[in-house]
């Protein structure tokens, strides 16, 4: 209702383009018929999660066949607030989390004081996006490849904003590939860490591919490793972390890559009604294959990378098997900065 009121007001004020989206009812399962669903975005109105959630809102509403799909923002604790809320929510499928899932898994594994949930017990309802994380060094750095990093006689200086997923990834890489990492925390955002790398104050940092694209293209930064399982067709020469890890550590690095690839997803509370889970997963999959949406994501340059909820759940189970190896590495990394 809120969104519709807003649309009416703004449509009057701004442009007829806004009136375009018609609502065609075409939904598979009847579970959500006449129900109200709330999607809790783990981020503020200014963030990327919010942008996706609101772009997908009318499409998901249509595919669920719900009476109304509301999007509310629940920023806080880097997504932990929303996750804690969903952990305790009524499992009837009316309350859904949307946002970054890898941070939830890592916060749990590292024993972060804000995480009061067990991420393996959530119901995974489908991934929307995934972006390869890439380790870059400065353009003028003496380090030219991941082999150079492994041969380094001193610790690899890694600038970080705090204990985010890239911080943990670096710790796992250091452990698996056998080099020391010196994490320098306290930087204010990606621009700040990128500059530290470009200037040579620090050796390298991990970001999403798009965040580093411009700096890589003009030679300020150089990518040396991608933490993902599939090679990008555009950049076939950059090695993949799971592939170069020694056999004994390969499963750990793979688990880390899997965690990063859970990225931006819908999840539901533990013990969520089985019919609701099935209906929601089907709706997400149908939505992400809907030509109307695909056209929109292309026009807005907001790429999607779908993964079915059922498959996601299996991946999460595999990750949790590796958690005994991951947890001590993550905890040691946190201890090192305290």
């Amino acid at each position: 209702m809120q969104a519709m009121r807003r649309r009416i007001v703004l449509a009057g004020a701004m442009s007829p383009v806004l009136l375009a989206s018609g609502r065609i009812a075409a939904q598979a399962s009847g579970y959500y018929k006449d129900k109200i669903v709330t999607v809790n975005v783990a981020g503020s109105a200014a963030g990327g999660h919010n942008f996706y959630a609101r772009m997908l809102q009318p499409h998901l509403e249509k595919h669920l066949g719900a009476r109304e799909l509301r999007v509310v923002n629940m920023p806080g604790g880097g997504g932990l607030k929303a996750a804690n809320y969903i952990w305790r929510a009524k499992p009837d499928g009316s309350q859904i989390y949307f946002g970054n899932v890898s941070t939830l898994i890592l916060a749990h594994l590292a024993g972060s004081p804000g995480a009061t949930f067990d991420p393996t017990k959530f119901n995974y309802l489908g991934r929307v996006t995934s972006e390869a994380r890439v380790l870059c060094v400065g353009g003028k750095s003496e380090i030219r490849s991941i082999e150079d990093v492994m041969k380094l006689k001193r610790p690899f200086v890694y600038p970080s904003q705090g204990t985010d997923e890239d911080f943990y990834t670096m710790a796992v890489l250091g452990d698996a590939l056998g080099f020391k990492v010196k994490a320098v925390t306290g930087y204010e955002g990606n621009a700040d860490t990128a500059l530290a790398v470009i200037k040579g104050d620090a050796d390298g940092h991990i970001t999403g591919w798009t965040e580093s694209r411009a700096a890589i293209r003009n030679g300020d930064k150089m990518p040396i490793l991608m933490v993902t399982s599939l090679k990008s067709p555009d950049y076939p020469n950059i090695p993949l972390a799971p592939a170069i890890a020694p056999a004994a550590k390969r499963a750990t690095v793979q688990a880390m890559a899997d965690i990063l690839e859970t990225h931006r997803s819908y999840i539901g509370p533990p013990g969520m009604d089985a019919n609701a889970v099935a209906a929601f997963r089907a709706a997400v999959t149908a939505m992400l294959n809907d030509p109307a949406l695909l056209k929109e994501t292309k026009a807005k340059e907001r790429p999607i990378a779908p993964m079915d909820g059922a498959r996601q759940q299996k991946v999460i189970a595999e990750i949790s098997r590796e958690s005994a190896n991951l947890a001590p590495i993550l905890k040691a990394a946190v201890k090192a900065i305290q």
Partner: protein, 177 residues
Amino acid sequence: MSRRAQENIVAIVFLAMFAGVVVLSLDFGPRARMIPLPLGILGVILALIQLVWQNLGSTDTLKMDMIEVSNPPGVEAAAAEARASEAKARNAEPSLSRRAGAYGIVALLLALILAFGPVLAVFAFTLGYFVVTRYYTPILAFVYAAAFTAAIDLLFFVLLEVNPYYGLLAPVIARFQ
């Protein structure tokens, strides 16, 4: 209560807060407490100095500077005048009931928002304020309060899409939707 007693209470509250900071900081790791711990100790020292200082002299020197930083000689006349009148107003301490009233209205509005959500609270609060202070006749008060509430709702909750909050009324609102 004398001015000195009030000042002492305020200084003691500060002292207690800083002491609390020192105690809590001791549990942090060495890097996490690197700044809070020394600052907490500095706060304790400053609060103690203030406490001792304001109890040394007579009442006249109470508001005197310990370390005077700036003494404005050639200030614009208007500014000086404004400050003089302000000081006068301050010396003629507002009555306790008026001050209690000021705390009361903030607490009331807060309670209304927590209980019924911002929109209803704004309406009830403005309407009540206008009526109790007799600023408007009840009918006019109703009209203006309603118009103001509508403006707030439109700006914050419709145009800016702030998540609605209904407090205790959430179940009722959910039923209507």
